[in-house]
Every structure is written in C-alpha cells, then in structure tokens.
Symmetry: C2
Subunit: 241 residues, 2 copies
C-alpha cells in the first residue's frame, strides 16, 4: 500500500508538477481513501522521499553495532547505506533529483533529511571521541565532511543520469575524507610521541591515494618531537627499513 | 522601517509564539500598513533573520576581493562575517537561537540559509581549485568543514547565553579545519617531492595546535618519497637543523 501510494504520487508529480498535485489526486490514482495516505506519509513531501526514514533507522542500527576501533570508517560505511538506497532504483532516483531541483519545498525537505543524517553520524563520532576537549567539534566537522563527500559522489552519478557505478565516485570522495581524517589507530602504527590529544587524531598512518596513483603518508606530531622518533615512525609506515 | 518591522515581529514572536503571530499583528504593532511588511520581507521567517541577505552579499563581495594565495583562509575569514553579525547583538542572537530551537519552520529556514553560505564558500574554493580532478570535491568538503566548525563555535557561545568572546571559540574551531586542510602554499615550506596533486593540498607546514599547548607538523607525501627528502623537509619545518 505504502509503495502503491508513493508510486501514484510520483507519477502525478512528474505529470502535473508537485505543486499542482493534491493528496486527493494521489489517493484517487492509487484507488484508496484519503486517510490511507496520511497513515503512511505525514505530508506530500514525504511521499517523494519514501525511504529516508527506513534509511535513517538502518544507519542508526548499523552504527550502534559498529566496531569501536574505526569511527571515521564506520560513519563512511553508514553513509553508503544512503547511496545504496539511491542506487537500488536509478531511474526513480534520477527523476526525483530533477524534480527536487525544480521545487523549493522539496529542496528544503531534502536539506532537513541531510541534516538528520549528518546529526546521526556526528552523534556516533561524539560517542566515540568523547565530550572532552575537541571531541564534539571533531565529530561535527568530520560528519559534515563525510556528508559533503558522499553527496558530491552521489550528485555526480545523478547528474550523469544514473549511468555507471555510483559506488566508484562515492568511494573516491570518501577516501579523500579518510586521507585527511586518518585511519583507525588500531590498524596503524602508534602515534608519534608527543602527539597532542587536542589536534585531530590523525595517527601516523598510510592511506591509499584517491587516484590509485600512489599512496600518501599523513603524519601529525607535536613540534619538538625528537627527529629520530619521527624518522622511526615514518620509516615503519612507508616500509623503508 | 525595516528594523522597526523586524523588532515588532520579534517581540511578538517572543510574547505569543511564532505560529500564533500573524503579519497583521506585526504591522499593527509597528504602526504601518500590511504591504509595508512584504516590501521588506518575503515571509514571516525572513523577519526573524533580517540580516542574512546582507551578510551573504557582504561575503560574496569579500570573497571576490580575496587574495588568491590562501583560499582556505579566505573562506574561514568569510565565515567570520556571519559570526560578527551574531556577535553584534548578543541578546537578540541568543533569544532567536532559543526561538529557532522551538519552531520547526525556523529551523528549516535556517538550514536553507546555512546551505547558501556553504554554497557561496564552495563556489569560491571551486574557482580557486579549478574544476579539474578533485577541485570541486575538495571545495565542497572544505566548505562543509568550515561551516560545521564555525557553527560549532557559534553554538557554544549561543548556548552559553552569549557570554564572553564568541571569536575565541570560532577561531579555535576554524583552526582545526586549517590544520587539516593546510595553510597557503606561499607561506609554507615547499611541498615534499612527489606530493600528489590529487590528494588534499596540505603542503609541508607548521601550524599552531588549537589548544595553545604546542605546535604540530602536518606532512603529506606520496609513499616512496626518498627518506632523506622527507627528513629534510621536516627538519626545515620544525627548525631542528
């Protein structure tokens, strides 16, 4: 029933435009009563995005079960849940993207949904980083970065008309965030001595370059760290012993 | 007139609530005709945020005149224009923050405004980074990071009731973004050899830790860079020759 209503609504939005379609039109097309619509959707806008609530719930569940060792990886993987929802139905996703560009109310609705995803990711990071020091700040900045990167990749795919593999663009974009914000401490060499807890927790780490054209070393250490320790850490990371 | 209307509107929103205040109530309080309201504000929501349009215009002008050498610094400074708008009127800003928490329509309006700031910053970065390669991706991720950092600092100040210096929290938050996304190439040591153009352009640089408790070295180089070159670069950055 829910899907029948969403499909009827979307067909009408494409045929007549979002603003000119009423809930009465939708229920008439679907062949059900008016109250059925509001049992499934709080508003006309919600019928355009029928899967975000499920996606948000799935994301929350996924993060609750996520390993503690790699919070940036966990929120990146959580963002991919949204991508899969779009990728599962390329034609619908592309049509909706075009419709959303044209209807200010849908754009605003989408911003609210994106903000809820961002807050879900930030909440997870905050719980892992802790509330002390810059934990909340880092959580919010990284969550915003992950969302921006995900949406950049997703938008490229939507603009291309849903051709090809959307995973590739999103993976590439999320890899950029990961390069900058580091890999899990557990799988990397120990942080250089004197590394400050207040700076972004980028441990000495080796991470793949996004272009597949070489790897990069990202290294953070407090100024004044003895040079021999820095060299030791870098050597062990780049494997030049 | 514009300010009189905004003040009348805001007083009524605090007294009666946003939803229960009509445009007729506002013009009656301000002692003007109904059409005057719509000459200045497209909607009731706009009267709650009377300065964002001016702020967006100022930001655009500031960025158009910005030096090319430090795009991340330029967008950080552009974000501070928003902060100053809030800081210029602490009592109003704090009251509005509380009102916005309670009214879903105002939260949505605020999300739209924040998105416009973010797009303005991203547009500037795109124009500086170029459209090739990861220029657009980096522009969007950095713009999102700057906005998230700015808003984290601003929110801390608003939640504290507008006590103290809001600049300090925002400066601290923006410094985190800067540490991660690098300082201008012109004022830093040359990038390590082999540094990839496709990875975030974090040149070998020395930047102050956010806690004032030491400085950090952030270094990015492609894996395989000769160790002597890495050491040379780090030595010149940390001043241990």
């Amino acid at each position: 029933m829910r899907e029948v209503l969403a499909q009827a609504a979307f067909q009408l939005f494409l045929e007549r435009g979002f603003e000119r379609t009423t809930v009465d039109d939708i229920v008439a097309r679907a062949g059900v009563g008016r109250r059925s619509f509001f049992r499934y959707f709080p508003s006309k806008e919600d019928a355009v995005f029928p899967d975000h609530e499920r996606c948000l719930a799935e994301m929350t569940e996924f993060l609750a079960a996520a390993d503690d060792g790699d919070p940036v990886g966990a929120v990146s993987d959580a963002a991919r849940i949204v991508l899969r929802m779009y990728a599962d139905n390329p034609e619908f996703s592309v049509q909706r993207y075009r419709l959303t560009r044209e209807v200010p109310g849908l754009r605003t609705y989408e911003l609210s949904v994106v903000r809820r995803y961002e807050q879900t990711l930030a909440g997870h990071l905050r719980s892992r980083f802790g509330a002390d020091g810059d934990g909340a700040l880092r959580a919010e900045v990284i969550a915003a970065s992950v969302v921006a990167a995900h949406n950049n990749g997703l938008r490229l795919w939507l603009r291309s008309g849903g051709e090809g593999d959307p995973e590739a663009a999103v993976d590439h974009a999320l890899a950029l965030v990961r390069e900058v914000w580091g890999r899990p401490a557990a799988s990397a060499a120990p942080a250089a001595p004197g590394a400050s807890a207040a700076v972004p927790a980028v441990p000495l780490a080796v991470s793949g370059g996004g272009d597949g054209d070489g790897e990069v070393v990202v290294m953070v250490a407090r100024k004044g760290t003895p040079m021999w320790r820095v060299v030791q850490q870098i050597e062990s990371a780049v494997g030049e012993n």
